[in-house]
Each structure stands twice: as C-alpha cells, then as structure tokens.
C-alpha cells in the first residue's frame, strides 16, 4: 500500500468514516467527525502508522488532510513514491 493510501486509511479509521469515504479534501472541524477528541486519536494513529513523533506545533497546525501530507513530509514520510 502506498503512503498516501496508508494516510487515507488512518484518517478513515481515526475519524470513524466509511471505508470508501473521500478524505483528501477534509478540513479540521468542517467534518463533524473530526473534532478535538478525534484529532488526538488521529495524531496517535499517524505516529504509529509512520513511526514518527509529531511536535506540538505540528499537532496544532494539522488542520486539513493536505496539511497532514506536508507535515508528515517534514518528518521524512514520502508521498510521491
């Protein structure tokens, strides 16, 4: 599975979305499932999935799926494979 697919899966699982739900356009708190509680689970899931430790500022700034891609990129996760 590509990293992008793994990221989509992590979003769906953490935010309790259906298996085929589109997630690429998701924005924090625009989707009712992505609230502050789910955000904690999401961050934990991303750390587990990609074996990274995300800093506080990045947790705060991770406000969309697109933002998550660029933040994880900083930690060395390659989404252009």
């Amino acid at each position: 599975m590509s990293n992008l697919q793994r990221l989509r899966e992590a979003f769906r699982t953490s935010l309790d979305l259906p298996a085929d739900a589109p997630v690429d356009e998701l924005q924090y708190q625009d989707n009712e499932k992505w609230d502050s509680l789910a955000h904690m689970s999401l961050v934990a899931a991303l750390e587990d999935e990609f074996s990274v430790m995300i800093d506080t500022d990045d947790v705060i700034n991770m406000s969309s799926f697109t933002e998550a891609v660029s933040i994880l990129g900083k930690y060395g996760v390659d989404f252009n494979e």
């Binding site: 708190q29 904690m40 961050v43 934990a44 430790m53 506080t56 500022d57 947790v59 705060i60």
Partner: protein
Amino acid sequence: MSSVFTLSQAAKEEVLLKELSALTEHHRENCEPYARILAANGYQGATSVEGLPWLPVRLFKNLELKSIPDDEVYKVLTSSGTTGAEVSKIYLDKAAAGEQTRKLGATVQSVLGPKRLPMILVDTKAMLKDRKSFSARGAGVLGMSNFGRNHVWALDNEGHVDVEALKGFLEQYGDEPFLIFGFTYLVWLHLYEVALENDLDLSNGILIHSGGWKKLVDQAVSPEEFRKRLAAVGLTKVHNYYGMIEQIGTIFLEGPTGGSLYCPDFADVVIRDPETWAEQPVGKPGLIEVISTLPTSYPGHVLLTEDLGVVHGVDDGDWPGKRFSVLGRLPRAEARGCSDTYREAA
C-alpha cells in the same frame, strides 16, 4: 526554548497600547453595542494601557457581543456557569479560533519545549462522553491534551483513582520528562494523596494545573502549602495558571520558582481599586482586569473580572513584566463554575 515571556513592562505596554487601541477601534466599528458603551463612557482614546476602556466580564452574559457577521461565526463558546446562572457566550471566527490555539500552544511550550511529552490527565474520560457538549472542564482538558502523547487518565469512569494505570504509565515513561495536567483540587485529592500512599515517583513530572483554590483553602491548603507538599512526592516543576473562557487562549502562568503568575507578551493585568477603579500600586489588592490582543472577533480584549488579585512586583521575578496572584472572588459576586470544578466530577 522559545518563550512568550520576554518583554519588560515598559516594552510590553508600548506594544500593547498600540495594538489594543487599534483593536478598540476595530470593535467600535464592528460591534454596535460596544460602540454605544464607548460613546456613553466618553472614550476618546487612551494614552496608557491602564487607560484603555474595560468591559465588566459579566456583560458577556447579558449581551450578544461580537464583531463578526453571523455567517463568519465558526464556534460559540459558553462559560461553565453554575446552575441557574446565565452563561457567557463568546463568538469566534476561524482566524480567532486558530490564533487562540496557537498562542496557548506557544505559552505552554515556554515551559514544556516543542516536544509532546507522555501525559497524565488527572480526570476521567467519562467527562467527554457527550462529544457535542463538553463542560468547560472537558474543553480545558482537551485543549491541553495537544501538548501530550500516550495519554493516561488517572481516574476511571466512576471517578476513582486508577492506581494500576498510573503505575503502568510510570513504569513505561517515568524515567523521562512527562506532563501532568489537571484541575487543582483533583490533583490534590487524586494525585498527591495517591502518590503519597503508593509511593509513586513523580520526580520527572511537570504539572500544569488550574481551576481555583476555594476548595483547597477550605481544607486550609494554601498555594505555598500545595507546592511544598507536592515537592514531597518529587513533583517540583509545578505551574499553576489563571485564565477564563472570555479570553480564551490567554493564560497567566506561574513561573518556575512559584508564588507568582506572569503575563505572556500579548497580555497584561491591571489591578483596580473596587471603589474608585483607579489602578492599585504594587502590593495592594484589587479587582483583576485582564488584557489580551487575542479577542479579535468579540470585544473581550480588556475585561474587568470579579476576581481579586495583587501585583507582587514588576520586572523583578522569574520572567519580565508584572507578577501577580489571584486572591479569590469578590465576595458579592455570584459563585461561578470554574472554582467549583469538583462538584461536576464523576
């Protein structure tokens, strides 16, 4: 470590006077009830931070005060409010919501650093059952949880201490710095006493706590005594803070050596004589006015609280600026939720 506690009082007042005067004009133009209040007060501009026009914090319970159109309201926060009392309503747009999260983050990182630490939440997860309407306590815990990882809840669903969970956490993370967050009374009752009984080693912990001293004062536990006793279980890095929903994102944080709260660079306090409203000199108690650049979507940038406080000194403590303590509520003020956190406890 990057800090938001850097400006001397003179430098801060120069920045704040400029920014808050502009913010006052912004709210005057965009919030009609606020413009009427300013007109009634005869406000013509301020030449000092102390001279900026304040609103009583209670006004947010009586009036809908916002400086954004209805379709830009992103979040409405409500104060904890005791039963039967009216609650404050605070309106945020996206920009204000984002900024308050970032500034709270920057403030807390001044003592924690940029890395998220393993974290003990001295509370119960049961409090978050209803995801649609958290209590103010729930919102506080969730806001702070961003600064941690591998969270463990110290209390079970019935509100009893989960000693095994704490032991497990300390076994796994106790050898490195970790974060503890909770309301002051819960920390006292459910962490300090349990740590003492079970010989838990909290010496790598950094405690951040808030929520009023009233219940502890009833038990004859002063802030000094609280620090002293926590040190006995190894907990020496302790930061109390003072903040309110009406100025969300702004917290006044206790410095490393204890005994005083400090104002971040974007905030300040003025202590006022409750009869003349004049600014009190250092050492003289009065009502606390809180000042912050964060409220851009509602006119809450200069608020007179119903809390009593005292400035202990200026530019003479752990960090620059004013250092102060909160002494309690003004006796006539109605009882308010935040100092009675424990009543809602499971």
